[in-house]
Amino acid sequence: MKTSPSSNGESLGHRSASLRRRHLIAALFKALCIGFTLFAVSVLGLLIAQVGADGLPWLDTQFLNNFPSRFPEKAGIKSALYGTLWVVSLTALIALPMGVLAAIYLEDYAPASRLTRVIEINIANLAGVPSIVYGILGLAIFVRFFGLERSVLAGAMTMSLLILPVIIISSKEAIRAVPSSIRLAAYAVGATQWQVVRSHVLPAAIPGILTGVILALSRAIGETAPLIMIGALTYVAFTPEGPMDEFTALPIQIFNWASRPQAEFHELAAAGIIVLLVVLLTMNALAVFIRYKGTQK
Protein backbone atom coordinates (compact mmCIF):
# COMPACT_ATOMS: atom_id res chain seq x y z
CA MET A 1 0.00 0.00 0.00
CA LYS A 2 1.36 3.37 -0.93
CA THR A 3 1.21 6.12 1.65
CA SER A 4 2.12 9.72 1.29
CA PRO A 5 5.30 10.93 2.97
CA SER A 6 4.45 12.66 6.20
CA SER A 7 6.07 16.02 6.59
CA ASN A 8 5.77 16.47 10.31
CA GLY A 9 7.94 13.60 11.45
CA GLU A 10 5.13 11.25 12.47
CA SER A 11 5.76 7.61 11.84
CA LEU A 12 3.96 5.81 9.06
CA GLY A 13 0.72 3.96 9.57
CA HIS A 14 -1.39 6.91 10.70
CA ARG A 15 -3.23 7.68 7.53
CA SER A 16 -5.15 10.88 7.80
CA ALA A 17 -8.89 11.10 7.13
CA SER A 18 -8.23 13.07 3.96
CA LEU A 19 -5.87 10.43 2.58
CA ARG A 20 -8.33 7.67 3.44
CA ARG A 21 -11.05 9.58 1.61
CA ARG A 22 -8.84 10.02 -1.44
CA HIS A 23 -8.06 6.31 -1.54
CA LEU A 24 -11.76 5.59 -1.26
CA ILE A 25 -12.54 7.87 -4.20
CA ALA A 26 -9.81 6.19 -6.25
CA ALA A 27 -11.23 2.75 -5.47
CA LEU A 28 -14.78 3.88 -6.27
CA PHE A 29 -13.71 5.29 -9.60
CA LYS A 30 -11.93 2.08 -10.51
CA ALA A 31 -15.00 0.03 -9.56
CA LEU A 32 -17.18 2.33 -11.67
CA CYS A 33 -14.94 1.86 -14.71
CA ILE A 34 -14.91 -1.92 -14.29
CA GLY A 35 -18.66 -1.97 -13.79
CA PHE A 36 -19.47 -0.09 -16.97
CA THR A 37 -16.97 -2.11 -18.99
CA LEU A 38 -18.55 -5.34 -17.74
CA PHE A 39 -22.00 -4.01 -18.53
CA ALA A 40 -21.04 -3.15 -22.12
CA VAL A 41 -19.26 -6.46 -22.66
CA SER A 42 -22.09 -8.54 -21.19
CA VAL A 43 -24.72 -6.80 -23.32
CA LEU A 44 -22.59 -7.59 -26.36
CA GLY A 45 -22.09 -11.16 -25.18
CA LEU A 46 -25.82 -11.59 -24.63
CA LEU A 47 -26.55 -10.33 -28.14
CA ILE A 48 -24.05 -12.67 -29.69
CA ALA A 49 -25.30 -15.62 -27.64
CA GLN A 50 -28.90 -14.90 -28.65
CA VAL A 51 -27.99 -14.56 -32.32
CA GLY A 52 -25.84 -17.68 -32.17
CA ALA A 53 -28.60 -19.76 -30.54
CA ASP A 54 -31.14 -18.68 -33.15
CA GLY A 55 -28.97 -18.66 -36.21
CA LEU A 56 -26.32 -21.36 -35.87
CA PRO A 57 -28.68 -24.29 -36.59
CA TRP A 58 -29.53 -22.68 -39.94
CA LEU A 59 -25.96 -21.95 -40.89
CA ASP A 60 -24.86 -24.56 -43.42
CA THR A 61 -23.55 -24.69 -46.97
CA GLN A 62 -27.10 -24.73 -48.26
CA PHE A 63 -27.76 -21.42 -46.52
CA LEU A 64 -24.68 -19.92 -48.07
CA ASN A 65 -25.36 -21.34 -51.53
CA ASN A 66 -29.07 -20.71 -51.93
CA PHE A 67 -30.89 -17.65 -53.09
CA PRO A 68 -33.69 -16.11 -51.05
CA SER A 69 -36.95 -18.05 -51.11
CA ARG A 70 -40.48 -17.94 -49.80
CA PHE A 71 -39.78 -21.22 -48.03
CA PRO A 72 -37.48 -20.75 -45.03
CA GLU A 73 -35.85 -24.19 -45.37
CA LYS A 74 -34.83 -23.38 -48.95
CA ALA A 75 -33.86 -19.75 -48.36
CA GLY A 76 -30.22 -18.77 -48.55
CA ILE A 77 -28.08 -15.69 -48.46
CA LYS A 78 -25.90 -16.13 -51.53
CA SER A 79 -27.07 -13.11 -53.50
CA ALA A 80 -26.85 -10.82 -50.45
CA LEU A 81 -23.40 -12.08 -49.46
CA TYR A 82 -22.03 -11.62 -52.98
CA GLY A 83 -23.77 -8.27 -53.26
CA THR A 84 -22.16 -7.05 -50.04
CA LEU A 85 -18.72 -8.29 -51.08
CA TRP A 86 -19.10 -6.55 -54.44
CA VAL A 87 -20.27 -3.28 -52.93
CA VAL A 88 -17.63 -3.23 -50.20
CA SER A 89 -14.78 -4.06 -52.58
CA LEU A 90 -15.84 -1.40 -55.07
CA THR A 91 -16.38 1.09 -52.26
CA ALA A 92 -12.87 0.42 -50.98
CA LEU A 93 -11.46 0.83 -54.49
CA ILE A 94 -13.20 4.18 -54.91
CA ALA A 95 -13.07 5.69 -51.42
CA LEU A 96 -9.63 4.57 -50.27
CA PRO A 97 -7.44 6.32 -52.85
CA MET A 98 -9.72 9.33 -52.97
CA GLY A 99 -9.87 9.73 -49.21
CA VAL A 100 -6.18 9.16 -48.58
CA LEU A 101 -5.09 11.50 -51.37
CA ALA A 102 -7.48 14.18 -50.13
CA ALA A 103 -6.08 13.77 -46.63
CA ILE A 104 -2.51 14.06 -47.89
CA TYR A 105 -3.41 17.17 -49.82
CA LEU A 106 -5.13 18.80 -46.86
CA GLU A 107 -2.34 17.96 -44.41
CA ASP A 108 0.84 18.38 -46.44
CA TYR A 109 0.03 20.52 -49.47
CA ALA A 110 -2.92 22.83 -48.85
CA PRO A 111 -1.96 26.36 -47.77
CA ALA A 112 -3.22 27.27 -44.30
CA SER A 113 -5.85 29.55 -45.78
CA ARG A 114 -9.43 30.30 -44.82
CA LEU A 115 -10.60 28.20 -47.76
CA THR A 116 -8.73 25.18 -46.44
CA ARG A 117 -10.31 25.66 -43.02
CA VAL A 118 -13.78 25.93 -44.54
CA ILE A 119 -13.19 22.72 -46.49
CA GLU A 120 -11.96 20.89 -43.39
CA ILE A 121 -14.90 22.02 -41.28
CA ASN A 122 -17.31 20.94 -43.97
CA ILE A 123 -15.73 17.52 -44.22
CA ALA A 124 -16.13 17.12 -40.48
CA ASN A 125 -19.78 18.14 -40.81
CA LEU A 126 -20.35 15.69 -43.65
CA ALA A 127 -19.23 12.87 -41.37
CA GLY A 128 -22.27 13.61 -39.22
CA VAL A 129 -24.86 13.71 -42.00
CA PRO A 130 -27.46 10.89 -41.68
CA SER A 131 -26.85 8.08 -44.14
CA ILE A 132 -30.35 8.33 -45.62
CA VAL A 133 -29.37 11.75 -46.98
CA TYR A 134 -26.50 10.14 -48.87
CA GLY A 135 -29.02 7.64 -50.17
CA ILE A 136 -31.16 10.45 -51.57
CA LEU A 137 -28.08 12.03 -53.10
CA GLY A 138 -27.03 8.71 -54.63
CA LEU A 139 -30.52 8.19 -56.00
CA ALA A 140 -30.59 11.64 -57.59
CA ILE A 141 -27.05 11.70 -58.94
CA PHE A 142 -25.83 8.17 -59.61
CA VAL A 143 -29.06 6.25 -60.19
CA ARG A 144 -31.02 8.90 -62.06
CA PHE A 145 -28.65 11.56 -63.44
CA PHE A 146 -25.83 9.27 -64.50
CA GLY A 147 -28.30 6.52 -65.34
CA LEU A 148 -26.47 3.83 -63.39
CA GLU A 149 -29.80 2.31 -62.36
CA ARG A 150 -29.84 0.09 -59.28
CA SER A 151 -26.38 -1.24 -59.96
CA VAL A 152 -23.53 -2.35 -57.73
CA LEU A 153 -21.62 0.68 -59.00
CA ALA A 154 -24.33 3.11 -57.94
CA GLY A 155 -24.41 1.46 -54.52
CA ALA A 156 -20.63 1.56 -54.16
CA MET A 157 -20.44 5.20 -55.20
CA THR A 158 -23.15 6.14 -52.73
CA MET A 159 -21.34 4.24 -49.99
CA SER A 160 -18.09 5.95 -50.99
CA LEU A 161 -19.71 9.35 -50.52
CA LEU A 162 -20.91 8.18 -47.13
CA ILE A 163 -17.55 7.00 -45.82
CA LEU A 164 -15.23 9.49 -47.55
CA PRO A 165 -15.46 12.06 -44.73
CA VAL A 166 -14.60 9.38 -42.15
CA ILE A 167 -11.63 8.16 -44.20
CA ILE A 168 -10.38 11.69 -44.81
CA ILE A 169 -10.63 12.70 -41.16
CA SER A 170 -8.94 9.59 -39.78
CA SER A 171 -6.23 9.66 -42.47
CA LYS A 172 -5.58 13.32 -41.71
CA GLU A 173 -5.14 12.46 -38.04
CA ALA A 174 -2.73 9.65 -38.89
CA ILE A 175 -0.73 11.87 -41.24
CA ARG A 176 -0.63 14.70 -38.72
CA ALA A 177 0.77 12.30 -36.13
CA VAL A 178 3.93 11.79 -38.20
CA PRO A 179 6.48 14.03 -36.46
CA SER A 180 7.46 17.08 -38.49
CA SER A 181 11.08 16.42 -37.47
CA ILE A 182 11.02 13.38 -39.76
CA ARG A 183 9.76 15.46 -42.64
CA LEU A 184 12.41 18.13 -42.04
CA ALA A 185 15.16 15.50 -41.82
CA ALA A 186 14.09 14.16 -45.20
CA TYR A 187 13.97 17.60 -46.77
CA ALA A 188 17.41 18.33 -45.37
CA VAL A 189 18.97 15.52 -47.42
CA GLY A 190 17.51 16.93 -50.62
CA ALA A 191 14.16 15.19 -50.89
CA THR A 192 11.27 16.56 -52.91
CA GLN A 193 7.85 16.75 -51.33
CA TRP A 194 6.72 13.64 -53.17
CA GLN A 195 9.71 11.70 -51.88
CA VAL A 196 9.03 12.84 -48.32
CA VAL A 197 5.38 11.80 -48.56
CA ARG A 198 6.16 8.54 -50.33
CA SER A 199 9.03 7.31 -48.16
CA HIS A 200 8.31 8.77 -44.75
CA VAL A 201 4.86 10.23 -44.23
CA LEU A 202 2.82 7.43 -45.80
CA PRO A 203 4.71 4.48 -44.30
CA ALA A 204 4.47 5.99 -40.84
CA ALA A 205 0.81 6.89 -41.26
CA ILE A 206 -0.43 3.68 -42.88
CA PRO A 207 -1.36 1.82 -39.67
CA GLY A 208 -3.52 4.74 -38.58
CA ILE A 209 -4.97 5.21 -42.05
CA LEU A 210 -5.87 1.51 -42.25
CA THR A 211 -7.62 1.60 -38.91
CA GLY A 212 -9.78 4.46 -40.13
CA VAL A 213 -10.45 2.80 -43.46
CA ILE A 214 -11.53 -0.45 -41.83
CA LEU A 215 -13.82 1.37 -39.42
CA ALA A 216 -15.32 3.23 -42.36
CA LEU A 217 -15.78 0.08 -44.45
CA SER A 218 -17.29 -1.71 -41.47
CA ARG A 219 -19.81 1.09 -41.31
CA ALA A 220 -20.47 0.69 -45.03
CA ILE A 221 -21.11 -3.04 -44.61
CA GLY A 222 -23.74 -2.43 -41.98
CA GLU A 223 -25.47 0.50 -43.68
CA THR A 224 -28.93 -0.27 -44.96
CA ALA A 225 -30.71 3.04 -45.40
CA PRO A 226 -28.82 4.43 -48.40
CA LEU A 227 -29.05 1.10 -50.22
CA ILE A 228 -32.78 0.93 -49.66
CA MET A 229 -32.99 4.48 -50.95
CA ILE A 230 -31.25 3.65 -54.21
CA GLY A 231 -33.47 0.64 -54.66
CA ALA A 232 -31.50 -2.40 -53.54
CA LEU A 233 -34.47 -3.68 -51.53
CA THR A 234 -35.65 -6.11 -54.16
CA TYR A 235 -35.81 -9.79 -54.71
CA VAL A 236 -32.52 -10.68 -56.40
CA ALA A 237 -32.05 -14.32 -57.28
CA PHE A 238 -28.63 -14.08 -58.90
CA THR A 239 -25.15 -12.94 -57.95
CA PRO A 240 -23.75 -9.81 -59.59
CA GLU A 241 -21.41 -10.58 -62.47
CA GLY A 242 -20.17 -7.05 -62.91
CA PRO A 243 -20.47 -3.54 -61.50
CA MET A 244 -23.54 -2.74 -63.57
CA ASP A 245 -25.65 -5.63 -62.25
CA GLU A 246 -28.47 -5.32 -59.76
CA PHE A 247 -27.71 -6.46 -56.25
CA THR A 248 -28.92 -6.82 -52.74
CA ALA A 249 -26.84 -6.75 -49.55
CA LEU A 250 -26.59 -8.59 -46.24
CA PRO A 251 -28.21 -5.98 -43.98
CA ILE A 252 -31.06 -5.60 -46.45
CA GLN A 253 -31.65 -9.32 -46.54
CA ILE A 254 -31.51 -9.47 -42.76
CA PHE A 255 -34.00 -6.62 -42.52
CA ASN A 256 -36.24 -8.33 -45.04
CA TRP A 257 -36.30 -11.59 -43.09
CA ALA A 258 -36.63 -9.96 -39.72
CA SER A 259 -39.70 -8.05 -40.84
CA ARG A 260 -41.62 -11.21 -41.81
CA PRO A 261 -44.07 -12.72 -39.35
CA GLN A 262 -42.80 -16.34 -39.38
CA ALA A 263 -40.36 -17.35 -36.63
CA GLU A 264 -38.22 -19.37 -39.07
CA PHE A 265 -37.39 -16.22 -40.96
CA HIS A 266 -36.33 -14.52 -37.73
CA GLU A 267 -33.86 -17.36 -37.22
CA LEU A 268 -32.70 -16.96 -40.79
CA ALA A 269 -32.07 -13.29 -39.99
CA ALA A 270 -29.92 -14.38 -37.05
CA ALA A 271 -27.96 -16.67 -39.35
CA GLY A 272 -27.52 -13.72 -41.73
CA ILE A 273 -26.22 -11.61 -38.87
CA ILE A 274 -23.62 -14.28 -38.13
CA VAL A 275 -22.49 -14.18 -41.77
CA LEU A 276 -22.29 -10.38 -41.61
CA LEU A 277 -20.22 -10.57 -38.42
CA VAL A 278 -17.86 -13.11 -39.99
CA VAL A 279 -17.33 -10.84 -43.03
CA LEU A 280 -16.66 -7.93 -40.68
CA LEU A 281 -14.22 -9.86 -38.50
CA THR A 282 -12.40 -11.17 -41.57
CA MET A 283 -11.90 -7.63 -42.79
CA ASN A 284 -10.67 -6.52 -39.38
CA ALA A 285 -8.28 -9.45 -39.24
CA LEU A 286 -6.99 -8.52 -42.67
CA ALA A 287 -6.35 -4.97 -41.48
CA VAL A 288 -4.53 -6.19 -38.39
CA PHE A 289 -2.43 -8.44 -40.60
CA ILE A 290 -1.55 -5.59 -42.98
CA ARG A 291 -0.69 -3.35 -40.03
CA TYR A 292 1.51 -6.05 -38.59
CA LYS A 293 3.28 -6.50 -41.92
CA GLY A 294 3.65 -2.74 -42.19
CA THR A 295 5.31 -2.30 -38.83
CA GLN A 296 7.72 -5.19 -39.44
CA LYS A 297 9.98 -3.26 -41.80
Binding site: A188, V189, G190, S199
Partner: protein
Protein backbone atom coordinates in the same frame (compact mmCIF):
# COMPACT_ATOMS: atom_id res chain seq x y z
CA UNK B 1 38.91 39.32 -39.21
CA UNK B 2 40.98 36.93 -41.18
CA UNK B 3 40.69 37.90 -44.82
CA UNK B 4 42.78 35.04 -46.18
CA UNK B 5 39.85 32.71 -45.73
CA UNK B 6 37.34 32.36 -48.54
CA UNK B 7 33.75 33.07 -47.79
CA UNK B 8 31.48 30.22 -48.79
CA UNK B 9 28.30 31.85 -47.63
CA UNK B 10 27.57 35.52 -47.24
CA UNK B 11 24.46 36.97 -45.65
CA UNK B 12 23.79 40.49 -46.88
CA UNK B 13 21.30 42.71 -45.07
CA UNK B 14 19.23 39.70 -44.14
CA UNK B 15 15.98 40.44 -42.36
CA UNK B 16 13.61 37.59 -41.57
CA UNK B 17 10.08 38.19 -40.32
CA UNK B 18 7.47 35.92 -38.81
CA UNK B 19 4.43 37.84 -39.95
CA UNK B 20 5.16 41.38 -38.76
CA UNK B 21 7.70 40.36 -36.15
CA UNK B 22 11.33 40.62 -37.27
CA UNK B 23 13.32 37.68 -35.87
CA UNK B 24 16.53 38.54 -37.73
CA UNK B 25 17.38 42.18 -38.43
CA UNK B 26 19.80 43.38 -41.08
CA UNK B 27 22.40 40.72 -40.51
CA UNK B 28 25.62 40.74 -42.52
CA UNK B 29 27.76 37.68 -41.98
CA UNK B 30 30.37 35.69 -43.89
CA UNK B 31 30.89 31.97 -43.39
CA UNK B 32 34.44 30.88 -44.19
CA UNK B 33 35.53 27.73 -45.93
CA UNK B 34 36.55 24.76 -43.79
CA UNK B 35 36.13 26.70 -40.59
CA UNK B 36 33.70 26.30 -37.75
CA UNK B 37 31.51 29.31 -37.21
CA UNK B 38 29.51 29.43 -34.00
CA UNK B 39 26.39 31.54 -33.61
CA UNK B 40 25.66 32.26 -29.97
CA UNK B 41 23.12 34.35 -28.15
CA UNK B 42 20.24 34.12 -25.71
CA UNK B 43 17.12 32.09 -26.51
CA UNK B 44 14.92 33.73 -29.09
CA UNK B 45 17.70 35.94 -30.48
CA UNK B 46 17.11 34.64 -34.02
CA UNK B 47 20.18 32.43 -34.31
CA UNK B 48 18.27 29.31 -35.33
CA UNK B 49 16.14 31.31 -37.76
CA UNK B 50 19.29 32.69 -39.36
CA UNK B 51 20.78 29.19 -39.57
CA UNK B 52 17.68 27.77 -41.21
CA UNK B 53 17.75 30.52 -43.81
CA UNK B 54 21.10 29.14 -45.00
CA UNK B 55 19.50 25.99 -46.43
CA UNK B 56 16.01 27.39 -46.97
CA UNK B 57 14.43 25.41 -44.18
CA UNK B 58 12.40 28.50 -43.29
CA UNK B 59 10.42 27.75 -46.45
CA UNK B 60 8.46 25.23 -44.38
CA UNK B 61 7.37 27.73 -41.77
CA UNK B 62 4.19 29.65 -42.51
CA UNK B 63 4.23 33.42 -42.89
CA UNK B 64 8.01 33.77 -42.99
CA UNK B 65 9.30 36.51 -45.25
CA UNK B 66 12.89 37.33 -45.92
CA UNK B 67 14.70 40.39 -47.26
CA UNK B 68 18.33 40.64 -48.31
CA UNK B 69 20.51 38.10 -50.00
CA UNK B 70 22.32 34.97 -48.97
CA UNK B 71 25.12 34.37 -51.42
CA UNK B 72 26.55 30.90 -51.86
CA UNK B 73 29.66 31.29 -54.00
CA UNK B 74 28.09 34.44 -55.44
CA UNK B 75 24.71 32.90 -56.20
CA UNK B 76 21.77 34.21 -54.22
CA UNK B 77 20.07 31.24 -52.55
CA UNK B 78 16.82 33.17 -52.72
CA UNK B 79 17.26 34.30 -56.30
CA UNK B 80 14.82 33.44 -59.02
CA UNK B 81 15.15 29.97 -60.47
CA UNK B 82 17.03 28.57 -57.48
CA UNK B 83 15.62 25.19 -56.48
CA UNK B 84 15.54 24.83 -52.68
CA UNK B 85 16.04 21.07 -53.05
CA UNK B 86 19.32 21.76 -54.83
CA UNK B 87 20.34 24.24 -52.14
CA UNK B 88 19.99 21.51 -49.52
CA UNK B 89 22.29 19.23 -51.49
CA UNK B 90 25.06 21.71 -50.78
CA UNK B 91 24.05 22.52 -47.20
CA UNK B 92 23.53 19.52 -44.94
CA UNK B 93 21.75 19.95 -41.65
CA UNK B 94 21.83 18.40 -38.19
CA UNK B 95 18.91 19.23 -35.94
CA UNK B 96 18.55 20.05 -32.29
CA UNK B 97 17.00 16.74 -31.35
CA UNK B 98 18.23 13.53 -32.96
CA UNK B 99 15.63 12.77 -35.64
CA UNK B 100 16.60 9.51 -37.33
CA UNK B 101 14.08 8.01 -39.73
CA UNK B 102 12.20 5.08 -38.14
CA UNK B 103 14.11 2.76 -40.45
CA UNK B 104 17.31 0.74 -40.32
CA UNK B 105 20.67 2.34 -39.59
CA UNK B 106 21.75 1.62 -43.15
CA UNK B 107 18.62 3.09 -44.70
CA UNK B 108 18.97 6.25 -42.63
CA UNK B 109 22.32 7.00 -44.21
CA UNK B 110 21.62 5.56 -47.64
CA UNK B 111 18.26 7.20 -48.29
CA UNK B 112 19.48 10.67 -49.22
CA UNK B 113 22.17 9.52 -51.68
CA UNK B 114 19.77 6.97 -53.17
CA UNK B 115 16.90 9.34 -53.91
CA UNK B 116 19.34 11.85 -55.33
CA UNK B 117 21.07 9.25 -57.46
CA UNK B 118 24.55 10.07 -56.14
CA UNK B 119 27.23 8.07 -57.93
CA UNK B 120 29.38 5.28 -56.54
CA UNK B 121 28.77 2.20 -54.44
CA UNK B 122 26.13 2.94 -51.81
CA UNK B 123 27.61 0.47 -49.30
CA UNK B 124 30.97 2.21 -49.46
CA UNK B 125 29.31 5.57 -49.15
CA UNK B 126 27.38 4.53 -46.04
CA UNK B 127 30.50 3.02 -44.49
CA UNK B 128 32.52 6.15 -45.19
CA UNK B 129 29.87 8.42 -43.71
CA UNK B 130 29.49 6.29 -40.59
CA UNK B 131 33.27 6.23 -40.15
CA UNK B 132 33.48 10.01 -40.51
CA UNK B 133 30.75 10.32 -37.91
CA UNK B 134 32.72 8.01 -35.57
CA UNK B 135 29.83 5.59 -35.40
CA UNK B 136 31.02 2.77 -37.67
CA UNK B 137 32.61 0.59 -35.01
CA UNK B 138 29.51 0.66 -32.87
CA UNK B 139 27.02 -0.22 -35.60
CA UNK B 140 28.93 -2.12 -38.31
CA UNK B 141 27.50 -5.47 -37.17
CA UNK B 142 23.92 -4.31 -36.98
CA UNK B 143 23.36 -2.00 -39.91
CA UNK B 144 19.91 -3.48 -40.42
CA UNK B 145 18.75 -2.78 -36.88
CA UNK B 146 16.28 0.01 -36.38
CA UNK B 147 17.96 3.36 -35.80
CA UNK B 148 15.51 3.95 -32.97
CA UNK B 149 17.33 1.32 -30.87
CA UNK B 150 20.45 3.50 -30.72
CA UNK B 151 21.18 5.75 -27.74
CA UNK B 152 20.55 9.47 -28.07
CA UNK B 153 24.20 10.25 -28.70
CA UNK B 154 24.50 7.49 -31.28
CA UNK B 155 21.34 8.72 -32.96
CA UNK B 156 22.77 12.21 -33.25
CA UNK B 157 25.99 10.84 -34.77
CA UNK B 158 23.81 8.84 -37.14
CA UNK B 159 22.10 12.08 -38.13
CA UNK B 160 25.53 13.59 -38.74
CA UNK B 161 26.44 10.56 -40.87
CA UNK B 162 23.19 11.02 -42.76
CA UNK B 163 24.20 14.58 -43.59
CA UNK B 164 27.79 13.56 -44.44
CA UNK B 165 26.66 10.83 -46.84
CA UNK B 166 25.38 13.59 -49.11
CA UNK B 167 28.90 15.06 -49.21
CA UNK B 168 27.63 18.60 -48.80
CA UNK B 169 29.95 21.56 -48.71
CA UNK B 170 28.47 23.13 -45.61
CA UNK B 171 27.02 21.44 -42.53
CA UNK B 172 24.54 23.45 -40.50
CA UNK B 173 24.08 22.34 -36.91
CA UNK B 174 21.25 23.64 -34.78
CA UNK B 175 22.28 23.09 -31.13
CA UNK B 176 23.27 19.51 -31.97
CA UNK B 177 24.25 18.66 -28.40
CA UNK B 178 21.45 20.27 -26.43
CA UNK B 179 19.60 16.97 -26.01
CA UNK B 180 22.73 14.94 -25.22
CA UNK B 181 24.65 13.98 -22.11
CA UNK B 182 28.18 15.37 -21.50
CA UNK B 183 29.99 12.27 -22.81
CA UNK B 184 28.05 12.25 -26.07
CA UNK B 185 28.55 16.00 -26.32
CA UNK B 186 32.30 15.74 -26.05
CA UNK B 187 32.36 12.96 -28.66
CA UNK B 188 30.52 15.20 -31.08
CA UNK B 189 32.81 18.11 -30.32
CA UNK B 190 35.83 15.91 -31.09
CA UNK B 191 34.09 14.95 -34.27
CA UNK B 192 33.72 18.57 -35.31
CA UNK B 193 37.51 19.02 -35.35
CA UNK B 194 37.80 16.04 -37.69
CA UNK B 195 35.03 17.25 -39.96
CA UNK B 196 36.58 20.69 -40.26
CA UNK B 197 39.23 19.20 -42.57
CA UNK B 198 36.63 18.62 -45.24
CA UNK B 199 33.58 20.65 -44.41
CA UNK B 200 32.51 24.15 -43.58
CA UNK B 201 30.49 24.06 -40.38
CA UNK B 202 28.04 26.51 -38.89
CA UNK B 203 26.90 25.63 -35.40
CA UNK B 204 24.23 27.33 -33.35
CA UNK B 205 24.68 26.85 -29.64
CA UNK B 206 23.76 28.52 -26.42
CA UNK B 207 26.54 26.73 -24.66
CA UNK B 208 29.34 29.31 -24.59
CA UNK B 209 32.03 26.86 -23.50
CA UNK B 210 31.16 24.80 -26.52
CA UNK B 211 31.41 27.79 -28.83
CA UNK B 212 34.78 28.79 -27.41
CA UNK B 213 36.12 25.22 -27.54
CA UNK B 214 35.15 24.26 -31.06
CA UNK B 215 34.76 27.32 -33.23
CA UNK B 216 37.13 29.47 -35.26
CA UNK B 217 34.69 32.34 -35.60
CA UNK B 218 31.93 33.41 -33.31
CA UNK B 219 28.88 35.52 -34.04
CA UNK B 220 26.95 36.95 -31.13
CA UNK B 221 23.32 37.78 -31.73
CA UNK B 222 20.79 39.52 -29.55
CA UNK B 223 17.17 40.42 -30.33
CA UNK B 224 17.68 39.52 -33.97
CA UNK B 225 20.70 41.74 -34.51
CA UNK B 226 24.25 40.63 -35.03
CA UNK B 227 26.07 42.40 -32.22
CA UNK B 228 29.57 41.17 -32.84
CA UNK B 229 31.34 38.82 -35.20
CA UNK B 230 35.00 37.89 -35.21
CA UNK B 231 37.69 35.38 -34.28
CA UNK B 232 36.46 33.22 -31.45
CA UNK B 233 39.51 34.14 -29.33
CA UNK B 234 38.86 37.82 -29.79
CA UNK B 235 35.11 37.60 -29.15
CA UNK B 236 35.61 35.68 -25.94
CA UNK B 237 38.69 37.42 -24.57
CA UNK B 238 38.60 40.93 -26.00
CA UNK B 239 35.03 41.61 -27.07
CA UNK B 240 34.56 44.99 -28.69
CA UNK B 241 30.99 45.38 -27.58
CA UNK B 242 29.91 45.78 -23.99
CA UNK B 243 26.90 43.55 -24.53
CA UNK B 244 29.05 40.76 -25.94
CA UNK B 245 31.26 40.99 -22.91
CA UNK B 246 28.28 40.85 -20.57
CA UNK B 247 26.98 37.77 -22.34
CA UNK B 248 30.20 35.76 -22.67
CA UNK B 249 31.20 36.46 -19.08
CA UNK B 250 27.81 35.17 -17.99
CA UNK B 251 26.50 38.44 -16.63
CA UNK B 252 23.19 37.75 -18.37
CA UNK B 253 21.56 35.26 -20.66
Amino acid sequence: MNTRDDAVLEARDVTIRYGEQAAVKNVNLSIYEKKITAIIGPSGCGKSTLLRSLNRMNDFIEHVTQDGEILYRNTNLYGEGVDPVEVRLHMGMVFQRPNPFPKSIFRNVAWGPTINGLPGDINLRVERALKQAALWNEVKDRLNDSALNLSGGQQQRLCIARALAMEPEVILMDEPCSALDPVSTSRIEDLLFELKQNYTIVIVTHNMQQASRVSDYTAFMENGSLIEYGDTDQVFTRPKQKRTEDYVTGRFG
